[in-house]
Amino acid sequence: MRMEWGSEIGVVFYRWIIKLRRQPIYLFFSLIQPLVWFLLFTQAFSAIGNIPGFEQITGTSDYITFFTAAVIIQTIASSALQSGIGMVNDLDSGYLDKMKVAPIHKSSILLGKVLSDGVSIVIQVGIIIALALIVGVNIATGVAGVALILLLAMAFGIAWSGISLFVGLQTKSTETTLSVGLLTTFPLLFLSTAVMPKELLPMWVQNVATLNPISYIANAFQGLIIRGFEWGAIANAIIVIALIGVVSLGASIALFRRAVNR
C-alpha cells in the first residue's frame, strides 16, 4: 500500500517533470520579476545599507546582500503560486478526470504535482543564487549554506504551492489563480522582515511582520547569507513551513476528495 502510494506520486511527478522539460520557458517566466527587482531595486535603494543601525542589526552594510533573501522568497512565491494553474488546465482538458478514474490515491495526484513544483523552484532559486554571487554577494555559510537554502526553498515552495492548488481547485479558473498569486506576494513580502530589518520597520508593520510567515523564512535565509548557521531561526522556518504545508496541502487534498461527490 505504502509502496503503491510512493510509486503513484512518482508517476505523477514524472509526468510534470517531462512537461517542465518540454516547456523550460516557464522556468524563466516566474524569474523575470525577481530579476528585475534584484538588478534595479538594489541599485536604487543601495543607500538603505547606510542607514544608521542597519549594519549593527543585519551584519552587513551591503543592501544587495541583505535583499538576496527577499528575492529568493519572491522567486519561490511567484513560482509556487502558479502551481494551481497546471491543475486548472488538467481540469479543463479532462486529464484530471482520467487520473481520478484510475485507481490511485487522490493525494498522489496533488503531491506529485507539488513535488515537481519543488524541483522547478530549486532550479529557479539556484539561478538567483548564481546571479547573486556574480554581482558580488558573499554567502557566509558557503556551499553547505547554499545547499540548506535550496532545501528550505524547496520545502517552502512545496508548502506554498498548496495554497495555489487550493485556490485553483476551488475557483477552477486560471485567471483567479494567477491573480491571487500576484496580489498576495507583494503585500506579504513588504509586511515582513524580508526587505527591511524588523527594528527599522514602523511599529504596526513590526506587529504584522511577527505574524507573517514570510518573516520567519526571511530570517533563516538572511542568517545563512549574511552571518552563519543560526539554528534557532532555521528551526523556526522549518516549523512555519511544516505548518503551512500541512494546512495548505491538507485542505487541498480534502477539497479534492470532496469534489468527487459533487
Binding site: E4, S7, E8, V11, Y14, R15, I18, K19, R22, Q23, D92, S93, G94, Y95, L96, D97, K98, M99, K100, V101, A102, P103, I104, V260, N261, R262
Partner: protein
C-alpha cells in the same frame, strides 16, 4: 441474464435541475449499450456517476456486482473511461501518455512498455508514437484517448460522446475500433447525440431526455414501433390535378396502410405521404401505378424511420438540430429518387 451494469432509481440534482431523474436500466455483459440524447439530457452526468467521478443523490448502481459507493476503488480497477474532452496531455508524446497511464494502474515498468506498444498497434498509431500530440489530428487524439482507456484491460469501457467533433471519415474509423474492441469481449457503454452512431453501434439503447429515459430497447424494434416506412410524393406547385389522380390510383394498392396529404410542416408542399409496410418492395409498384395513369410526379422520396423519428414522437423535439449544428450529414437512411 448476466448483467454487468445494474442501475435502479438513479437520481442526481443540481439545484433545481434534475440532471438524472429516476433512471433505471441494465447492461448485459458483452454488448454495446448506448445512451442517446441531445446536449444537456443528462448523459454525461450519468456516465460520470457510473465511472465514480461524481456521487449520486439516491438510487443504486453496481458495476459487475460492485457497489459504486462502497467499492469505488474496486470499480476503478475494472473500468476504462474516455471523456468527452479527450483527456490526453498535449505536451507529451503518444508513447509517454500511454506509459504514464499504465503506471497509474500500477502496471510494472517492463509490462507498461509492452502494453504501450500493444495499444499503439490496436489504435494504429505506432508510427506516430513519438510525436508530440500538438501535431496530432482530432481523430488521432481521439484514438489515443481510446487507447489510454484500455490500459487496464477493462471489463467495461465507458465512452462519453466518442465521436463528437470528428468528421464523418474519422467517425466511421473510430466506430470500427469500437466494434473491434467489443468483438474481443469488452462491454461498451457509450453516450451519443448522434442517432446514426447509436443506430450503427448499439446493440441496445436508452433514449434519454431531460434526465429521464423515454425509451429503451433494440434500435430496430424501436424504429419498427414507429409504424413502418413512408413514401413522400411531391407534385408541381399550384396544380391540384396530379394529387387527386395519384390519390385515386394508389387507393387500391395493397401494402399501403395510409394516404394523407402533406401538411404545412411537412417537407413537401403539394404532395402526399404514404405509410407503408415495406418500402423497397412497394416502391416499384407505386411508380408503375402512377406511370400507367400518366401522373406527373416532381419528386418521390422513400424514408425508413430513424431513431430521430422515435425521439420526435416521444419528446416532440428533434435530434437533428444538433447533428446539423455539428456539421453532420442528414439522415443516412434516406434514399432519394427523382
Amino acid at each position: 441474464m448476466d448483467n454487468i451494469i445494474e442501475v435502479k432509481g438513479l437520481m442526481k440534482t443540481y439545484g433545481d435541475i434534475r440532471a438524472v431523474d429516476d433512471v433505471s436500466f441494465s447492461v448485459r455483459r458483452g454488448e454495446i449499450f448506448g445512451f442517446l440524447g441531445p446536449n444537456g439530457a443528462g448523459k454525461s452526468t450519468a456516465i460520470k456517476i457510473l465511472t465514480t467521478l461524481i456521487g449520486k443523490d439516491s438510487g443504486s448502481a453496481a458495476i459487475d456486482g460492485l457497489d459504486l459507493e462502497t467499492q469505488a476503488e474496486e470499480v476503478r480497477r475494472i473500468i476504462g473511461y474516455a471523456s468527452q474532452e479527450v483527456g490526453v496531455d498535449n505536451d507529451l508524446t503518444a508513447r509517454e501518455n500511454l506509459y504514464i497511464q499504465c503506471r497509474y494502474y500500477h502496471i510494472s515498468k517492463e509490462k507498461s512498455k509492452q502494453k504501450v506498444e500493444e495499444l499503439l498497434r490496436t489504435v494504429n498509431l505506432v508510427d506516430a508514437g513519438d510525436r508530440k500530440l500538438s501535431t496530432f489530428s482530432g481523430g488521432m487524439r481521439k484514438r489515443l484517448d481510446l487507447a489510454t482507456a484500455l490500459v487496464s484491460d477493462p471489463r467495461i469501457l465507458f465512452l462519453d460522446e466518442p465521436t463528437t467533433g470528428l468528421d464523418p471519415k474519422n467517425r466511421r474509423e473510430l466506430w470500427d475500433y469500437i466494434r473491434g474492441l467489443n468483438r474481443q469481449g469488452t462491454t461498451i457503454f457509450l453516450t451519443t447525440q448522434y442517432m446514426e452512431e447509436a443506430d450503427q453501434l448499439a446493440d441496445r439503447l436508452c433514449i434519454i431526455d431531460q434526465g429521464k429515459i423515454v425509451a429503451e430497447g433494440v434500435p430496430e424494434s424501436l424504429k419498427a414501433k414507429m409504424g413502418g416506412d413512408t413514401i413522400t410524393l411531391s407534385f408541381r406547385e399550384g396544380d391540384p390535378t396530379p394529387l387527386t389522380q395519384a390519390k385515386e390510383a394508389l387507393a387500391p394498392v395493397p401494402g399501403i396502410k395510409e394516404i394523407r396529404e402533406c401538411e404545412l410542416d411537412d417537407v413537401c408542399q403539394n404532395g402526399l405521404v404514404l405509410t407503408i409496410e415495406n418500402g423497397s418492395s412497394i416502391m416499384p409498384q407505386v411508380v408503375r401505378v402512377l406511370d400507367a395513369r400518366g401522373v406527373e410526379v416532381e419528386r418521390l422520396t422513400l424514408s425508413t424511420p430513424t431513431l430521430d423519428d422515435v425521439f420526435l414522437s416521444l419528446t416532440g423535439k428533434t435530434l437533428k438540430v444538433h447533428e446539423e449544428a455539428n456539421g453532420e450529414q442528414k439522415g443516412m437512411r434516406r434514399r432519394r429518387i427523382r
